[in-house]
């Protein structure tokens, strides 16, 4: 049941991305081109999405559990740290270089173009690089922390 609902949600999400033009990298780059051929469509898309998702999230807050699972899996962190901002900036640079973020990139796989395969392959590689980086960082901090434990 969970996978069925997820597939439906993913499909509706993909239809929304495509109908709004957000699967077109040229249109996303035009949104980011504030000092050139600015196309504000992305802001309207985000506004439309928030107009539905915000009441949906407010409704979820009043319920104790979702319809078909045991609990809501919501992020709990509140602190603003360097990783959050540095990660968002790095992501923003990549987004501005090509005009693709993860959702549209995956939706555009259906076009079967070499450019999309190359981008999605590099994106998955970036996720693996981060995993290696996070592992290296936590092992290093464990070594540093060791003397104080003993």
């Amino acid at each position: 049941m969970q996978s069925l609902v997820a597939a439906l949600c993913g499909t509706v999400f993909g239809v929304g991305l495509a109908l709004s033009g957000m699967t077109n990298p040229a249109k996303v780059l035009a949104f980011l081109d504030w000092f050139g051929s600015f196309d504000p469509t992305l802001a309207v898309v985000m506004g439309g999405a928030l107009a539905v998702s915000a009441p949906g999230f407010a409704l979820a807050r009043r319920r104790t559990r979702p319809l078909w699972s045991l609990r809501f899996a919501l992020p709990t962190r509140r602190d603003v740290d360097v990783d959050l901002i540095a990660g968002a900036v790095l992501f923003g640079i990549g987004w501005g270089l090509v005009g693709l973020c993860p959702g549209p990139a995956l939706a555009d796989l259906v076009r079967g173009s070499n450019e999309i395969f190359l981008f999605v392959g590099a994106m998955l590689a970036g996720i693996l690089v981060h995993r290696a980086f996070a592992g290296w960082r936590s092992s290093r901090s464990a070594v540093v922390a060791e003397p104080s434990r003993s």
Partner: protein, 144 residues
């Protein structure tokens, strides 16, 4: 490259994206953050790979439906070189993991639930994206 402002389709598509996000949360309690779902499908923190792969498979399926039913809505223009695609992909993959989210997770879901982290992250990646386009198009004078 110029594209036309299409607020009507933008609003309609945005409503569908919001609907999908709200439904995923209310039905199975999950955040529709694509970068998190992709990473979670590779390394599921809770051992659950099924719903993640199902959601991700829906994205190209939905875009394919639009290309099939309304081909005039399916414009797709990508002019980046191979090197730029690889660099951009690596940065998007790494950055979304380090920053715990992307346009959907922070921009749509995070802001919808009033997260200050998501609001700041969204401002940061939009500013960084605009600065990048400014440098590429208006300082280096390149095409994208």
């Amino acid at each position: 490259m110029e594209t036309a402002f299409t607020p009507g389709w933008g609003l309609f598509g945005g409503l569908l994206i919001g609907l999908a996000s709200a439904l995923l949360l209310l039905a199975i309690g999950r955040i529709a953050g694509i970068s998190g779902i992709v990473a979670g499908s590779l390394f599921p923190p809770d051992g659950m790979r099924g719903w993640r792969l199902a959601f991700l498979a829906g994205l190209p399926l939905g875009a394919g439906l639009v290309a099939w039913i309304a081909p005039e809505r399916a414009a797709f223009e990508i002019t980046s070189s191979a090197g730029r695609l690889i660099l951009g992909g690596l940065l998007v993959g790494f950055g979304t993991q380090l920053g715990s989210g992307c346009t959907s997770g922070h921009g749509v879901c995070g802001i919808a639930r009033g997260s200050r982290r998501s609001l700041l992250a969204t401002a940061a990646f939009m500013l960084a994206g605009a600065a990048t386009v400014f440098v590429v198009r208006h300082v280096l004078g390149g095409t994208q």
